[in-house]
């Protein structure tokens, strides 16, 4: 297993480096004139030149690249074009708030989706299975801002059940925080339910058709016994992988949800950065989220590897 971990970490580092490079290229290489991009087409040329001088965009590209990489390693993502302050502290704080929201969304969707997927797989092609698949396909098609809108209109405004502005008062206790975050979290949960449920279903169907599931049936085990002892641990492997991938999309969808619910998390920060053309903030966000995604997939891959005795014991080679 150690060999696998080592190899996997190496690959992650390579991917991470590529990720940072791609973002750097987009942010610094594509635009010809960053100063112009920030100040717009009507600003006088001297201001643009001054800004470029201040931002250091006139240095050779490789120098800029090197200093970017070095900075990231030390968690220095540069200074915001807007505030002049370091980007990282503000981003970090906003991330904390977003993590709460994303965490609640996952907490809602994962148990529901996995249960639905298992249930559907056992009743394959019956009405309940088709219904679950249909619900899954539908729910994963609807953008988060659409479900958020519908929730706000129906639950927030018409029924008045939950607060519409999601930012809880400071020092709120956990139940209150959940109450405030419930609607945006649900908006996100609805989208991810579909995909996770369908993947769980597919993985379970695969296992149900395997030879060892057949052996279990031939031994005379009941359906419940077969599920618990043989099916579950093998069927949930693809589910783990899927959940990790969803983490990546999660932080994309969170932007729209935070906008609708006016929640000052990472999404709002990114949005404002986009409006004000605060490129360091945007690149920092992209890199950080990329890292989060990579860590999630790394954990998922390691979990899957651990569940496979062949890799875990590594007695061969």
């Amino acid at each position: 297993m150690t060999r696998y971990i080592g190899r996997r970490l190496m690959l992650s580092l390579v991917t991470l480096w590529l990720l940072v490079t791609i973002v750097f290229v987009i942010a610094n290489v594509l635009p010809n004139d960053i100063g112009r991009t920030i100040l717009g087409p009507f600003a006088p040329q001297e201001s643009v030149d001054q800004l470029n001088e201040r931002l250091g965009t006139n240095r050779p590209i490789l120098v800029q690249y090197a200093s970017s990489i070095l900075g990231i390693v030390t968690l220095d993502f540069g200074d915001s074009y807007v505030t002049g302050q370091p980007v990282w502290p503000q981003l970090f704080e906003a991330m904390g708030r977003s993590v709460k929201l994303a965490g609640l969304a996952l907490l809602i969707t994962i148990p529901l989706a996995v249960t639905a997927g298992l249930y559907a797989a056992r009743r394959r092609d019956r009405l309940s299975d088709r219904a679950i698949v249909l619900v899954g396909v539908t729910s994963s098609s609807i953008p988060e801002f659409v479900t958020g809108t519908i929730l706000v209109v129906v639950v927030g405004v018409q029924l008045g059940l939950l607060p519409v502005l999601a930012t809880p008062p400071p020092d709120a206790d956990i139940p209150t925080t959940i109450r405030y975050l419930l609607m945006p979290a649900t908006a996100m949960a609805i989208v991810y339910f579909g995909y996770i449920a369908r993947m769980t279903r597919a993985g379970t169907i695969d296992v149900l058709q395997s030879d060892y599931a057949r052996t279990a049936a031939m031994k005379g085990l009941t359906a419940g016994q077969t599920m618990r002892r043989h099916v579950l641990r093998n069927a949930l492997i693809p589910t783990v992988a899927v959940i990790a991938v969803q983490v990546g999309y999660l932080f994309g969808g969170i932007i729209a949800v935070e906008k609708i619910f006016n929640y000052n998390g990472m999404g709002q920060t990114m949005l404002m950065a986009a409006q004000r053309k605060d490129i360091p903030m945007l690149t920092a966000g992209a890199i950080v989220i990329g890292i989060v995604y990579m860590v999630a997939t790394l954990i998922a891959d390691l979990t899957i590897a651990w569940m496979n005795p062949r890799i875990r014991l590594d007695t061969e080679h």
Partner: protein, 345 residues
């Protein structure tokens, strides 16, 4: 609620024991079809044979002839889209085609067991061997500690020298032969009256194959179980089986005592199979390898009564149904039997 092996739709009438037969397994005119995109495609067309306790019966034929389907039907394991369209299967007098899910489960626990073609895939890859064998005993009602003792004993019985060590390993750590011994141990846990083996040695090396077959023969003698052995290797059938049925396109075209069938085949297909075996010592310059031209018909095509007629070198007009004949006076299958048309040297 059974998982994924939805039994074929059957009527809920209780099984009526047929006490007059002594056969452990009696398949009567079994017809089975796969439902593909709403259409029923016949796979088995009226298969009949029986296996008595202590006897081993081999079903042999090319891939796709329906022998595996028959084997699985004998333990009421049908694919999701499989449907029994006729006939019945009697095990110790009880018609298993009419059993409920729970009855089938009890049937599988106590009366019948199966050994599979790919033993590695038939074992749960993420569970150690020990619990998988123990499970075969706890399902019989034994306590956990009794079952563990029984499991070790079962592994010794299949000639595994280090049962404790093997119990602690995962399937992938065992060789194919060892895996198959474990599967056999699991199958024999309940001392079944019917043991079905679906190509048990196809994936194994020749020497391992021999030892596994020896083991099965020995265990059969001990338990007096009825053995149904499926294979496409004629040699295996020859060594292992008392009687043999030759299957082609879902029908048994020839049946009888193993020695007789192999030494004196009656049906052109059997003859073709035997002739296609490469002979030891003969070089290709001396004699061409004999084959049966053509291919097995696709599953589900409707076939004339003599299913072999399109490939049979001895077929003539009487073998094919003509428009003047009514369907009830269909031509006799295998009409062109060698002995009848023995205008040969």
């Amino acid at each position: 609620m059974t998982i994924d092996m939805t039994p074929a739709p059957t009527s809920p009438t209780p099984p009526s024991p047929d006490l007059s037969t002594a056969a452990a397994l009696k398949v009567e005119d079994l017809s089975l079809a796969y439902v593909v995109r709403g259409i029923r495609r016949p796979v088995l067309r009226g298969v009949s044979f029986e296996v008595r306790p202590g006897e081993s019966y081999g079903l042999v034929g090319e891939s796709g002839c329906g022998k595996s389907t028959t084997a699985y039907a004998a333990v009421r394991y049908l694919p999701r889209n499989g449907v029994i369209t006729g006939g019945r299967i009697l095990v110790n007098g009880e018609d298993i085609t009419k059993m409920s899910d729970e009855q089938v489960r009890q049937f599988r626990i106590h009366h019948a067991s199966m050994v599979y073609q790919d033993p590695g895939a038939a074992l749960n890859p993420t569970t150690k061997i020990g619990p998988q064998v123990v499970e075969a005993f706890t399902v019989l009602g034994e306590s956990k500690s009794d079952a563990q003792k029984s499991a070790l004993q079962a592994l010794r019985r299949v000639q595994i020298a280090d049962p404790v060590g093997v119990s602690d390993r995962y399937p992938y750590q065992l060789s194919g032969g060892m895996q198959q011994r474990v599967v056999i141990a699991i199958a024999l846990a309940s001392n079944p009256k019917l043991l079905v083996l679906d190509e048990p040695t196809t994936g194994l090396d020749a020497t391992v194959e021999a030892s596994v077959l020896d083991l099965v023969r020995g265990l059969q003698a001990e338990t007096n179980a009825a053995v149904l052995l499926i294979a496409h290797n004629l040699g295996v059938i020859r060594t292992m089986c008392d009687r043999v049925g030759v299957m082609y396109a879902g029908k048994i075209v020839e049946e009888g005592d193993a020695r007789t069938v192999f030494e004196n085949p009656q049906h052109p297909y059997t003859l073709g199979l035997l002739r296609s075996l490469p002979r030891r010592g003969i070089r290709k310059s001396q004699r061409a390898l004999s084959t049966i031209p053509g291919n097995l018909p696709q599953i589900g095509t409707s076939l004339p009564t003599c299913v072999f007629v399109d490939r049979c070198p001895l077929a003539d007009d009487l073998c094919r149904p003509s428009s003047r004949r009514s369907s009830s006076s269909a031509p006799v299958a295998g009409r062109g039997l060698i002995t009848a048309t023995a205008s040969t040297r």
